[in-house]
Structures are given as C-alpha cells and as structure tokens.
Subunit: 149 residues, 2 copies
DNA sequence: TTTCGTGCAAAAGCTTTGCATTAGC
DNA sequence: GCTAATGCAAAGCTTTTGCACGAAA
C-alpha cells in the first residue's frame, strides 16, 4: 500500500472507479463530494464539505453528503476520524490508517511523516492474540501557530 | 507516572482525595460512580455505569453519572475514549493515555501491555513542531474469542 | 442558611432515515 | 421505464443543560 499523498485527480479517478465497480451511479452531487475528499488536506467535516459545495451546488443537501460518505466508508475509500465532542473528520486522499496531529486549540488536523507500524502491529498481535485489521494513532497538543499566540 | 493497573481501593482513594482537594463534595452517588470507574477493567460506557448502579441506587440518574464523569475529566481522573458511532467509554483505573485493543465484533476494549511512547512522541515533536500533551492509540480487530466463532 | 448536588425532562448537536420527487442508465 | 439518488424534514442517539427540590457543610 502506498503511504504518501497522491495527486487529487488520480485519487478522484480511483474513487469513481471503485463506486462504479460496485454498481453505484456517479451523479454530479456525488462527484462533487468525491472531488472535495480526494483533494482534502485539511480533514474536513461533513458540514464543512457541505458548505464548500453550496455555492456551486445550491441544491446540495447535508443528507447527500452524509450518504456519499457512507458509501465511501463501505467501499473503504475514505478514512473516518470519529469524535464525540465535535463532528467526525474525513480523509479521502489517504483512506488508510495513518497518524494525525490534532491541535486542541485551533482544531487543525494534519499528517505527520508516516511511521512504520508493521513491527508494532505484529508485536501487538503476538502478545494479545488479536488479529489487528486497523488502528488509530492521534497526537494531541498545540500546533506551531497556536504556540505563538 | 505509573504505567500499570493499581488496586481499585487505592485508586478509589486517590479519586476521592482529588475531588475533595478541588472542593467537591463526596455524595453517595458520586462515590458509587467513582467506585465503578476505579475498578473498571472493561471500559464501561456512561449507560453501563448507570445500569450497574441502578440496583443499589434506585434514584440514580444518568445526569448524575454524566456530571460525575465531567468532574473527573476536568481533574484528569478519568480517561475518555471518544466514539461517534457508539457511546464513549471510560477508564478510571488508568486515567492516562495508553493503547487499547478494540474488538470490532463484540465491542470489548482491553489493554495490551504498555508501550514506551516517549521516544516516538519526542520524534514526532521534533519533526512537526507540535507540543504533544496527549495521544490516542487504538488497535481494531477481532479478539481471540471472536476469532473462534 | 447558604451553597452544592440530584434527577427529571427538555434541549442540543451530529448523523441517519423515510419518503416523495427527480434523474441516471 | 426501471431503479437508484436527491433532498427535505423528521427521527434517533448520546450527551448536556435548566431548574426545582433536597441535602450537605
């Protein structure tokens, strides 16, 4: 599996193909959501995606955004970062587990350099008897900008 | 910071002291919630704590459970694992960040052997300029029991 | 007696769902 | 033309909040 960010256009094509292959239609609304997610570097929330698309797609609804995300989750084409105190955040460019830096002041979520988790994962599987299929690694703190303030 | 599970009775005392020190009263209801959290190995949800206490405290309310947890969060005496698709889960015995194994079949959350995160954290801080104050590391997969089924 | 905590019920916030209308294929 | 998708509004869930009553210091 590739571990670096790929070109949004290429990622978009991948997502479209995957949906088509699974028998889903590519509507203008869906395509628009996919496009935002394919190029997202800022881990947008569903609300944020919706707002961003409203100007170009005035009839866009939140339901459609959520339903599209739901499709992508089923086909493994988006990574969902769950939160309970704020909205979930999504990464469609890198839909596989990777570490995140989360600023607890401004809410920014960014990707630090990738880590090799295979060794750690294998050690964990050995020690616990779990079969690990996924993981989540978040670091919480203040981002460089917020430290200055 | 101690990295292993401590005796529930001792942990309970610590929690009580911390609340007292911060000027909060120790009511029977609060004490009961603290007791469950101090000995919890199974990362209960607020709902689960509430149910568990209903027999001994028939007047117990969910609000009281949530309000007590909220106090503990403020004083750093409970670790909250946030989820959006299910209720949050709590660990009052080990209120500091530590890895979790989460079974995606039966929902069990358990603690694997502790890892030394200091090196990794320091490396991350160097590379990103973040000041990391906390982290979250979850592994998702099937627990040994669920693999048999 | 004054302050704090409890617990009911209502509200809040995010996400999902039902359903009639619209649009892909 | 058949089936799926959209989008509105309502429902669902967990968690928080307002408030009157009761209890603790």
């Amino acid at each position: 599996m590739d571990k670096v960010r790929i070109l949004p256009e290429i990622r978009l094509k991948q997502m479209v193909e995957k949906l088509k292959k699974n028998g889903f239609r590519i509507t203008p609304q869906r395509y628009a959501v996919l496009k935002v997610l394919a190029q997202s570097e800022n881990h947008p929330s569903a609300e944020r995606i919706y707002e961003q698309l409203l100007t170009d797609y005035p009839t866009m609804s939140q339901a459609t955004v959520y339903k599209t995300i739901s499709l992508l989750k089923k086909t493994g084409e988006v990574l969902e970062l769950e939160f309970s105190e704020m909205s979930n955040r999504y990464d469609g460019n890198k839909p596989y587990p990777h570490p995140h830096m989360i600023c607890t002041k401004c809410g920014t979520i960014s990707d630090p350099p990738m880590l090799d988790f295979e060794k750690l994962k294998n050690k964990m599987m050995e020690k616990t008897g779990f079969t690990i299929s996924s993981h989540r690694l978040d670091f919480y703190g203040y981002c460089p900008d917020c430290q200055k303030k």
